[in-house]
């Protein structure tokens, strides 16, 4: 799976980090930073959860 974060839409809620902290981090302004663009299959469910709870719908998953 490939993860894409739309930084311009991100509101810095940190929900993605709470859902999968090895895949997402936040910069000093709170904007999401991708730690892994292609997370492993084991992480897929948590990453999907992160995309689902993102209040700004800023996370897209391909594949």
């Amino acid at each position: 799976m490939k993860v894409i974060v739309d930084k311009d839409a991100c509101v810095g809620s940190g929900q993605c980090v709470l859902a999968a902290e090895d895949v997402f981090d936040q910069d000093d302004d709170g904007i999401a930073v991708l730690l892994q663009e292609n997370p492993s299959e084991e992480r897929a469910e948590d990453v999907r959860q992160a995309a689902a709870v993102c209040p700004a719908l800023a996370i897209r998953i391909e594949g």
Partner: protein, 394 residues
């Protein structure tokens, strides 16, 4: 517990409604899904309306919650531009505006809220902000370079005041309470919000009621305040709160208090669920009934409803999350912020306008608020999860 229903009807085709549909599919629900909405638009998101859409930095299409193709994949029947007008719990039937009836095995109520009104405000130039059409109308009005008065200094009024001010307009923000966002975050933080607006050149008239409107030829020309003064206005936004959109449910037998009253499993009656802005439920984590008008809650409650429909019996006990953007400031909050809670700064400095504060009731953390301090706030959320106790003035 009944078996998984074969025909789910969701009323309210917005954040809560669409997310419920999405999560039903994600959980493997293969039955019939119908999404009924009174707006003509495909489901769209509201938070950008008072921010990017109003400011003109996003094209309106960008607020769609899902593209048309992605919607088709979900295999939902969309009934748009059609209000639900009544509910027969016994017959398990919904009546629609065009007089037809729609049967269901499980029903989800996700009709959100409707802006509260001030008397005598059907004048031209007086706006509300709830829908995409409202946002586009308000933006068009602001582009004419008017004098703007915003009535109501909750998050919505405060956001619009900030956008209008950043467009270079003369803006006055009026509220009967002494500081902006008092109801959300109490007097100390409200004071800081007020100072931020004044720093950006927005005029604040807090602690003053609106007594009436002045008009000429059906168009608003001014706002009369309780102290006898009059503010010139070409455009007025009324943002004085909202009421749950439950009118169509009156007489149905569903428990309607402050919104549709649900159990901690989002259930309002057998096979009837409610979520999002319209629903009130008992949150076991805080030991209190709540109704939230927050974007994250729409998603989380929708997920909980979808799970409940397919048979997961976990109670819905979220830590509420809310954010608002005003000027260059991002305010974020986890938990609850009751009247009279003690506020204790945990990190940063309010004078520097970057801090995290805890809200305590009986020395237990019930909420944490971050002012341009997102990462520390995320860590502080744990205090709310753990119901941590903090000693006075550490």
């Amino acid at each position: 517990m009944s078996a998984t229903p074969e025909n789910v009807v969701i009323v309210g085709a917005s954040a809560t409604g669409l997310t419920t549909a999405q999560h039903l599919r994600r959980q493997g629900y293969e039955g019939k899904l119908t999404l009924v909405g009174d707006e003509e638009h495909l489901p769209y998101d509201r938070p950008p309306l008072s921010k990017q859409v109003l400011a003109g930095t996003w094209e309106p299409e960008r607020v769609l919650l899902r593209s048309e193709d992605a919607l088709a994949e979900l295999d939902v029947t969309l009934v748009l531009g059609q209000p639900a007008t009544g509910l027969d719990l016994g017959a398990k039937e919904l009546s629609l505006g065009d007089g037809t009836a729609l049967g269901y095995d499980a029903l989800v109520v996700a009709t959100g809220v409707t802006p509260r009104d001030l008397p005598g405000t059907d004048l031209d130039g007086v706006h509300r902000l709830r829908t995409l059409d409202d946002a586009l109308a308000l933006r068009a009005a602001l582009l004419a370079g008017p004098k703007v008065v915003v009535v109501g200094a909750g998050f919505l009024g405060a956001e619009v005041a900030a956008v209008a001010r950043e467009m270079g307009l003369e803006v006055t923000l009026v509220d009967p309470l002494p500081v902006p966002m008092l109801r959300q975050f109490g007097p100390q933080v409200g004071e800081l919000v007020g100072a931020m607006h004044r720093d950006h050149g927005t005029v604040l008239r807090c602690g003053t009621e609106v007594a009436g409107f002045r008009s000429s030829g059906g168009r608003v020309t001014g706002v009369e305040l309780g102290d006898g003064s009059v503010l010139d206005a070409d455009v007025v936004l009324v943002a004085v709160g909202s009421v749950p959109a439950t009118g169509w449910l009156e007489g149905s037998g569903l428990p309607l208090g402050n919104g549709v009253e649900c159990t901690d499993h989002c259930r309002a009656a057998p096979d009837v669920y409610a979520g999002g802005d319209v629903a009130s439920w008992y949150n076991p984590h805080f030991g209190t009934r709540m109704r939230l008008e927050h974007r994250m809650n729409a998603t989380e409650q929708a997920m909980a409803i979808a799970s409940a429909i397919v048979g997961d019996e976990r109670p819905f006990a979220p830590i509420p999350y809310f954010w608002t953007d005003q000027y260059d400031t991002k305010l974020q909050a986890y938990g609850t912020f009751p009247d009279g809670a003690r506020v204790q700064v945990l990190d940063g400095d309010p004078d520097e306008r970057a801090f995290v504060a805890a809200y305590l009731v009986d020395d237990v953390v019930v909420g944490v608020l971050g002012w341009n301090h997102p990462r520390t706030l995320r860590e502080a959320r744990k205090l709310v999860v753990d119901r941590a106790s903090l000693d006075v003035a550490s």
